[in-house]
């Protein structure tokens, strides 16, 4: 069905803006808010033009307070709205973690379904564009260790649009993390009109027999680049875009490992305790017999993301480091 639609080339910000626009048009319960979301249309312009179009009641600026933003959204959601909040950078989710860990994902459970939180929290995350301190953080692992929330990280404009619309329709709280590097760095054909894509499914974005690369968000293009280089040498890498981290599509991961026998997990957050550890642990738990080599992780180092652009590319995994891991598992 989506395949039949007209498509246009959009970048990720445009695709997200379009999804927000369509959601506001479709459902009067949808409200958009956050710091600089209204008049300015967001620091990355994700909500550009939407306040003008839908008015200040539906699209509005909030005070500079992330816990307030999330708590306010929880209240709006409990009382019948469909809040879509923007946190300006994922590294600024931290002041809101109490609301997130204590209530966002627990409200349904602690009220036995009497109150639910159909809320979406969008936040740009990750590095690669020389941002200041804390502006390149990748805190997805913290969110994934929170009961009752979903975590979605798209890697292309088409996916971003459909997944964001699905997230807004979802009856549970969804984190929607958007790789800053891909905002304008990636363009793609995007179907027109309203469509949703399923949350909870991983995608094989490139098939291969040699090694499975598991990745998401900003690391998908890095892995695809690595796969292209490897292909030139005759090595076919399989690239699996996890897309939804929670609930994780374990079957697709296992299927890929069963086929290739080799797994490399790639993420840009700091290595220890990163979400890639969960992926590795699931493979080690359920596909051990198929493994022909250790499960390697290529990740950020156990250090703050370096705000000095000169060396950020040594922190953030790139195709070179992915290929080193690939060589190691192949040589094993």
């Amino acid at each position: 069905m989506i395949a039949e639609r007209e498509t246009r080339v959009l970048n990720n910000v445009q695709a997200i803006n379009e999804a927000l626009d369509l959601a506001l048009a479709k459902d009067p319960r949808v409200l958009l808010f956050g710091e600089d979301v209204g008049t300015m249309g967001g620091v990355f312009r994700a909500s550009d033009g939407l306040q003008q179009k839908y008015g200040e009641k539906r699209v509005f600026d909030t005070p500079l307070a992330e816990s307030g933003i999330v708590g306010f959204g929880i209240g709006l959601a409990m009382a019948g709205f469909r809040p879509v909040a923007e946190i300006q950078f994922a590294g600024f989710l931290y002041p809101a973690l109490d609301q997130i860990l204590s209530h966002l994902g627990r409200m349904r459970h602690r009220t036995r379904g009497r109150f639910t939180i159909p809320m979406v929290i969008r936040a740009p995350y990750g590095g690669g564009v020389k941002t200041p301190e804390q502006h390149a953080d990748s805190p997805e692992a913290l969110l994934c260790h929170t009961p009752g929330v979903k975590v979605v990280i798209p890697s292309s404009p088409e996916r971003a649009k459909g997944l964001l619309l699905a997230a807004i329709e979802d009856p549970d709280p969804v984190f929607f993390l958007e790789a800053i590097k891909l905002y304008r760095g990636v363009k793609g054909m995007v179907p027109e009109g309203y469509y949703t894509l399923p949350i909870g499914q991983a995608r094989v974005v490139r098939e291969g027999q040699a090694v499975s690369l598991f990745c998401y968000g900003g690391m998908v293009e890095v892995c695809q680049k690595a796969a292209e280089v490897a292909a030139r040498e005759g090595v076919e890498l399989e690239v699996v875009d996890l897309e939804t981290l929670v609930p994780l599509d374990t079957p697709t991961i296992l299927e890929s490992v069963r086929k290739t026998g080799r797994a490399v997990v790639v993420y840009e957050a700091m290595r220890t305790g990163g979400f890639g550890a969960e992926v590795a642990a699931r493979i080690a738990e359920e596909a051990l017999d198929y493994l022909e080599a250790p499960i390697l992780r290529v990740a950020g180092w156990d250090a703050p993301y370096p705000p000095f652009s000169a060396v950020e590319n040594y922190y953030r995994p790139d195709a070179k480091r992915v290929l080193e891991a690939v060589r190691r598992v192949l040589a094993y």
């Binding site: 816990s67 708590g71 209240g75 002041p95 036995r112 009497r114 009752g148 609930p247 374990t250």
Partner: protein, 345 residues
């Protein structure tokens, strides 16, 4: 700041009361009902038939006075653990409250016609949420209001500040009642804040702040009624500081002798909100000891009937642990559920 008061420490009216006789009698009955619940709950707790229980003895007027102004199926209540009296008066069935303090999930969801969010355990998180609920009510345009409670200690948390700021910026229909009971567990208010009156903080948000004698039902009720009327009329939030005292321990696990004197509690017992209201009614010729006895019996009968209901609730099943995490069970919960049903090897 001036403290709003209608009754003197013995309960004698200081001036004309802004409620009619039937209202005053209704208010007293609600107070007594709350006290009755608290007393019975403590007994249940000692019998091991309740979990950790946070008593509210001494704070009945501060809670009941606000709850009396609300309609359960229209307005919203977001209470902290201390507000069983507000919950009860608002409309939460007693058996639900018992189950709730039994930590039985059957007690967690308010009935569909009672807009009460389950008691908040982490301190102050309810304030921004209440601002959000109130904003929703405002957008829905039905003149409904939200009421939220917090303790003196809770005002120190960042969420208190963020919530009040959101509430004031969006001018939402919200009552924020701070029960200043002098203590946050063992920490006295003067170590919690340097300011003498919490209501002064309202000035930092450009909203009205009122100090009220929290052991004077008439005073709390009338202040809350005005605040609710303002809120319904679109005039925004109000901060109410109710000066009161937690006569009982912090919770059933607490030993207050570690941090405060018996005398302090004794002094406050003299200002018991129920005694004061009863004396007020007696003074006005609106109450008799016969009615008192009848009320006592009726409350006990009600409580026992509700207790029986609570006791009938089945024990929670292990697999409920992973239910209601998502609207639809996801694979990881499903696997756990299967395991907990004993269907997995």
């Amino acid at each position: 700041m001036e403290t709003v008061q209608y009754l003197d420490d013995t309960g004698r009216p200081l001036r004309e009361l802004p409620f009619n006789p039937e209202e005053l009698r209704q208010g007293y009955r609600a107070l007594r009902r709350a006290r009755h619940f608290d007393e019975r709950a403590l007994v249940l707790q000692r019998q091991g038939r309740l979990g950790v229980y946070p008593p509210f003895r001494g704070q009945e007027a501060a809670q009941v006075g606000v709850a009396l102004c609300l309609q359960a199926n229209r307005d919203w209540l977001l209470p902290s653990y201390r507000e069983s009296a507000a919950a009860l008066t608002f409309g939460m069935p007693i058996h639900k409250l018992i189950l709730s303090w039994r930590a039985d999930p059957a007690g967690w969801g308010a009935p569909p016609d009672v807009n009460m969010v389950q008691f908040y355990i982490p301190i102050a998180t309810q304030i921004p949420q209440a601002a959000g609920v109130a904003h929703a009510l405002h957008l829905q345009g039905q003149g409904a209001v939200a009421a939220v409670f917090i303790g003196d200690g809770g005002t120190s948390e960042g969420d208190f500040h963020e919530g009040l700021n959101f509430a004031s910026v969006f001018n939402v229909p919200l009552l924020v009642t701070v029960q200043n009971n002098g203590w946050a567990i063992s920490v006295p208010t003067h170590k919690q804040m340097r300011v003498q009156r919490i209501a002064l903080k309202a000035q930092g948000y450009g909203i009205p702040g009122v100090v009220v004698d929290g052991n004077d039902l008439v005073a709390v009720w009338s202040v809350a009624r005005e605040a609710v009327a303002r809120a319904r009329a679109g005039q925004g939030p109000t901060l109410i500081e109710a000066l009161t005292y937690r006569v009982a321990p912090h919770t059933s696990s607490d030993d207050p002798s570690r941090y405060r004197t018996e005398e302090e509690a004794e002094q406050w017992k003299q200002r018991d909100p129920i005694l004061r209201m009863k004396n007020c009614l007696l003074h006005l010729g609106l109450w008799s000891e016969e009615e008192e006895a009848e009320l006592g019996e009726a409350l006990e009968a009600e409580f026992q009937a509700e207790l029986a209901l609570a006791d009938q609730a089945p024990e929670p099943n292990p697999w409920e642990i992973v239910e209601q995490v998502y609207h639809k069970m996801q694979p990881d919960q499903e696997a756990a559920w299967q395991y907990l049903r004993g269907e997995k090897a």
